[in-house]
Symmetry: C2
Subunit: 223 residues, 2 copies
């Protein structure tokens, strides 16, 4: 996944350290968060934290859920032992050297899906700011102003959406194509979509953030 798109999908609360920077690795925290706890030697897991150098960072996305995550390869600074570490998105090692490398070549906008966006007649209310700053300008002379957007997801798959400006009062909507997207990505109210535009090329991208579900939200809906 392109790192800039990846960062826009992950959001600004996620900071990934750069290669060669130094971080503290917390074995305990890694074991608690990982679905498949890492195999660590007792020597490693007995330490509360270990100063490491970052060898490599890979920006990835889950094939099924579209959720972004990074694989960060660490090497202890006082030892030569090599570790593979899976770093869940939304968390980060405590960075010692933190470099902000924001070139802002991608502008993005995120919206939490309302029940109407996720459930009802297959439409999406586009906030005015998103339509103005992300989508190509409509021809407002036309009646109604309408265009078809081709938007790439993190896998490179292209989705088409009918973008129309209508209703009284006027508002921006995504209609045809939206419902298929929601169903395919299994989005529900509370999840977020992220629309992005590359400032240079004008290319559009769409990402997905799943809502953090508390146990209470998980009832019913077994399939």
């Amino acid at each position: 996944v392109d790192p800039t798109i990846w960062k826009a999908c992950a959001g600004t609360s996620v900071q990934i350290p750069t290669v060669d920077s130094r971080v503290y690795y917390f074995p305990q925290g890694h074991a608690e968060q990982s679905s498949s706890p890492p195999l660590l030697s007792p020597l490693v897991s007995s330490q509360p934290f270990i100063l490491c150098r970052i060898l490599a960072v890979r920006f990835l996305a889950n094939t099924e859920t579209d959720e972004v995550f990074a694989k960060i390869r660490l090497v202890p600074i006082d030892r030569s032992r090599d570790l593979h570490v899976l770093q869940p998105s939304g968390t980060k090692p405590n960075c010692v050297g933190d470099e902000d490398d924001d070139d802002e070549e991608v502008v993005s906008f995120a919206k939490i899906l309302t029940p109407s966006d996720a459930n009802n007649g297959g439409g999406f209310s586009v906030p005015r700011f998103c339509a103005d700053s992300i989508f190509p300008p409509l021809n407002y002379a036309a009646e109604p102003p309408v265009q078809t957007l081709s938007i790439r997801d993190v896998h490179g798959m292209v989705w088409e959406f009918r973008h129309i400006y209508r209703g009284t009062p006027r508002r921006h909507l995504l209609t045809t194509g939206w419902s298929k997207f929601v169903n395919h990505k299994k989005l529900i109210a509370g999840d977020s979509v992220v629309f992005m535009r590359n400032r240079r090329t004008g290319e559009l991208f769409v990402g997905v953030r799943r809502a953090v579900r508390s146990n209470a939200d998980c009832g019913g809906r077994g399939d």
Copy 2:
């Protein structure tokens, strides 16, 4: 899976040897047919065939495809080494001692699905013989004669079908419920369904046989 139901699903061309009978095990054939070739010691795989005794037979069904298969545990007769062997349905070891244990407590009928059965308006043409010999008799005094059949698949899941006798000329059809079954089992024209009735209890069962697809049939339809 109940062995009698299993056998009806597999069809008469499949013969599974009984426990304690002796068979020849062909390592080469096993390796060629298995999707995950067995790990065999060179001593075993270098032999063309090995006389074995059958320790245990388990009748199973694939959770996704409903296809039946058996796990047969063998032990070489001249050695004490123990092997786990997956026996694909539709093939069999060459039986030395073959016992036919058919008590015929289940009567079955198989039909290859026509395009109309699989694709069109959600109906299934029930061959007269199947309706007469497998399904409970309809009340032909009613207009139209109709009943709801509750039929169990190999996993024990119950499916409901509306069985009606109508049209000119009259014929047996499965209507409501059939389409859901076809979609859930991902059946296409050329596949078969097997209807079974337990003579003693009258209980109904339904099984599925996938058509053997040549490479030419596999084009398109990627999902």
